[in-house]
């Protein structure tokens, strides 16, 4: 893996600025540790918002306090965090051709037995488990971010053989990447119309709406994380082909 890395470094063998950077980071870390110990020695004033959350959890539509905070009490923060995720995707997105289809399967002659067996056995199980995590987020730890991370892990496994390819700039990929933000905004603003305030879920539908938002978020998070991984793979492949061209010339 590492012998394929192609990084040019033309600085001196011992970089003075790097040394000073390491030294300053060490000093800063020491100061930080001292500060943390001093601050923690001071007694906290109260128990935070835990009591308020347990009092209001009945009204949130879910029973898991973390999900209640993320998707109901502080849903506005989560909405903006999904926007942060979109910023990251936009920053690393490849800008090559977007005419190839969203999902492509290439027949490879040489099959790696272990890898294909892993793909056949583990990937479907991971997908099902991600679905379970998403569903279970309402009453126990889990939810969109965990499910999305799992699915992205499954996609990494699938990308290991060059059989599957995803074009992240195709129209479908774009729609899926902005799906969560779009749905979140739509629901949030629609609720102004129905309930009179931004992101105020009606009690009867709050569980359902939260599940809908989380499902869309799972799709977008999966694709975003997978695109992060694929962009590295693509760069590596690109440098390999470059090298080949060089040797031919």
């Amino acid at each position: 893996m590492f012998n394929k890395l192609d990084i040019e470094y033309d600085g001196p063998p011992v970089d003075k600025s790097a040394l000073s950077l390491i030294a300053s980071v060490l000093v800063a870390g020491l100061l930080l540790a001292v500060t943390i110990t001093i601050v923690l020695s001071d007694k906290g004033h109260n128990t935070g918002l835990a009591t308020v959350i347990t009092q209001n959890i009945e009204l949130s539509g879910v029973t898991n306090p973390v999900t209640a905070v993320l998707l109901n009490f502080r849903a506005y923060d989560t909405l903006l965090e999904i926007a942060v995720l979109l910023v990251v995707v936009l920053a690393i997105l490849p800008t090559r051709d977007h005419h190839t289809p969203f999902f492509k399967r290439i027949e490879v002659n040489k099959q790696n037995l272990v890898l294909s067996a892993l793909q056949c056995w583990i990937a479907p199980a991971v997908v099902i488990f991600a679905g379970y995590l998403l569903w279970a987020g309402a009453h126990q730890p889990g939810g969109a971010f965990q499910a999305g991370a799992l699915l992205a892990g499954a996609s990494v496994l699938l990308f290991q053989s060059d059989t599957y390819q995803i074009n992240y700039t195709s129209p479908i990929a774009r729609v899926l990447l902005v799906l969560s933000l779009g749905v979140f905004i739509t629901i949030g603003t629609a609720l102004i119309w129905f309930e009179g305030s931004l992101l105020t879920y009606p009690l009867a539908f709050s569980g359902l709406l939260i599940l809908l938002i989380e499902t869309c978020a799972t799709v977008s998070i999966t694709l975003a994380l997978a695109s992060l991984y694929s962009s590295f793979i693509a760069n590596e492949n690109l440098s390999i082909t470059d090298n080949k061209h060089r040797t031919i010339e």
């Binding site: 308020v52 933000l181 305030s197």
Partner: protein, 512 residues
């Protein structure tokens, strides 16, 4: 729907740019991209204008709150607007409209590769929504999320330029921004532990001289100073602002650094006002003063036009930090009232307009010249008279000569310094003004030099078939936008009452 807090306006100001980002991303490379974005910026401008008018019409001493999700602080998140944030919002709306107009020409494919627009527009709108959300936030953690949106999208926008220098600058900008955010986040964790709430007003009510609060204030100050680029922490700003695409440079210097400054002012005077000391404010003022001298000197030494303007931002930020020592300090609490705060608010507005105008004009000059070297600008006033005029007007405002917004801002600063008996800041301000005149007149005298030999050689050079640098005629829209910003800078100099009225509202709100 007369009541601002019950209306849709406040959330719409955040959500409209988000929607614009989604649509800009979905339509991708399309000829409609420019017109659609201009429509969105117009709608955003009207929304913010309406909000400002409603706020001024109500004339309340209180700040307006909008409760999201019906929970209310401390459980939920609130949006809040007071005079200062309305002013910053209005500034955001104005600059969004004008720079979007500029960018629609800049990214139309004539001046830059078309795949850049694919990234630019969504990132641009996300940046705008982050800024708008930040100026309305009433929640400490929500501010952190907004800072993340702003920092990440700004770094990605700098990287858009694609050359080696821009990528290096963007990476450094990203890392510095993340470090600053982490300092802030650590402080928020401490504040939550000792106050049990994240709402800024509720934290303010229970703030005392306790040790954790002081540590939190120090961490917030360090983190935000990194993001604002006050003098010893300014190292990342000149390369980032100089290497970004022109509209990005304009918004970075005009608003993005001010966003962190806004948060610092809010914490320093409102939220954790109890923990500030006279000595600390003098230190901030001294750093600001050093920034004025050092930034101006580096600007004078700069050989690239955009680097000169970026160093000028370092210097101008120094002036705003004189707010901290000059503000009224009574009973252990410094307050954001009186003439010092007025001077700072005026300075923020004046600098935002003048610096945006200057960056846009400089971008036009560089496009016309095909090169960013200052030495290459000799005699350019003949070919690009309007852009040189814009550069001159913006320069007058930055130096602080009448009649310009910069003059009023400096006048307020000087009178405050004399009234409060801190005469040493007068010397710093005047020296900074002289240095500013030095580096700006250096450029202008080059631009206006009518050395016939130079013009002749230029004529010869332009007829030469192959040139290492390519120059393109600058579109009228881009010149006009820069001119409008310059005229606004002048108009603010003639009509100081308008801004000062809003900043009066600020002092009333913060008296609570």
């Amino acid at each position: 729907m007369n009541d601002l807090s019950s209306s849709l306006l406040l959330p719409a100001i955040v959500f409209l740019p988000l929607l614009a980002a989604i649509i800009a991303y979905l339509i991708g490379q399309n000829r409609l991209q420019g017109p659609i974005n201009i429509c969105f910026s117009l709608a955003q401008f009207l929304l913010i204008g309406l909000t400002t008018l409603l706020f001024l019409h109500e004339k309340t001493d209180q700040s307006e709150r909008y409760i999201i999700g019906g929970w209310g602080a401390p459980l939920g998140i609130d949006l809040i607007v007071d005079g200062f944030s309305i002013l910053m919002l209005a500034l955001t709306g104005l600059l969004t409209l004008l720079i979007t107009l500029y960018s629609a020409s800049y990214f139309s494919g004539k001046y830059s590769a078309s795949d850049k627009s694919l990234r630019f527009w969504p990132l641009w709108w996300l940046l705008i929504s982050g800024l708008s959300a930040l100026f309305m936030s009433a929640d400490a953690f929500n501010i952190y999320v907004c800072l993340e949106i702003i920092g990440l999208s700004a770094a990605a926008l700098v990287a858009l330029q694609g050359n080696r220098a821009a990528l290096q600058a963007a990476l450094r900008y990203l890392l510095v921004g993340l470090l600053g955010s982490l300092f802030y986040l650590f402080a928020i964790a401490i504040l939550y532990r000792s106050h049990g709430t994240l709402d800024l007003m509720q934290i303010a009510e229970t703030t005392n001289h306790s040790f954790p609060d002081k540590v939190a204030m120090i961490l917030i100050t360090i983190g935000l100073l990194l993001k604002i680029a006050l003098f010893p922490l300014h190292f990342w700003l000149p390369p980032a602002h100089a290497n970004a695409p022109t509209p990005v440079s304009a918004i970075l210097s005009a608003l993005v650094v001010k966003a962190s400054l806004y948060i610092l002012i809010k914490f320093w005077f409102d939220v954790l006002g109890e923990t500030t000391t006279l000595g600390a404010s003098q230190v901030l003022g001294a750093l600001g003063g050093a920034g004025i001298i050092y930034g101006s000197w580096c600007a004078f030494r700069a050989t690239q036009l955009k680097l000169l303007i970026a160093y000028s931002t370092v210097a101008q930020l120094g002036y705003i930090f004189l707010l901290f020592p000059l503000s009224e300090y009574s009973m252990g609490v410094s307050s954001f009232t009186g003439s010092a705060s007025q001077a700072a608010v005026y300075f923020i507005v004046a600098h935002a307009c003048a610096k945006a105008a200057m960056f846009l004009a400089a971008g036009n000059l560089i496009l016309a010249q095909g090169d960013g070297e200052i030495a290459q600008l000799k005699g350019i006033a003949v070919r690009e008279p309007l852009n040189v005029l814009v550069f001159a007007i913006a320069g007058i405002s930055l130096i602080g000569l009448p009649p310009s917004a910069g003059f009023i801002a400096k006048w307020l600063l000087l009178t405050t310094a004399i009234e409060s008996g801190q005469w040493w800041w007068v010397i710093v301000v005047i020296t900074g003004g002289l240095l500013g005149a030095m580096y700006l007149f250096k450029v202008l005298s080059l631009a206006f030099s009518t050395d016939p030999a130079v013009i002749e050689s230029r004529a010869v050079k332009s007829t030469a078939p192959v040139s290492s640098v390519s120059s393109v005629p600058v579109s009228n829209v881009m010149t006009t936008v820069a001119l409008i910003l310059a005229l606004i800078t002048l108009a603010l100099g003639f009509n100081a009452e308008f801004i000062l009225n809003i900043s009066n509202t600020v002092s009333e709100v913060n008296d609570i």
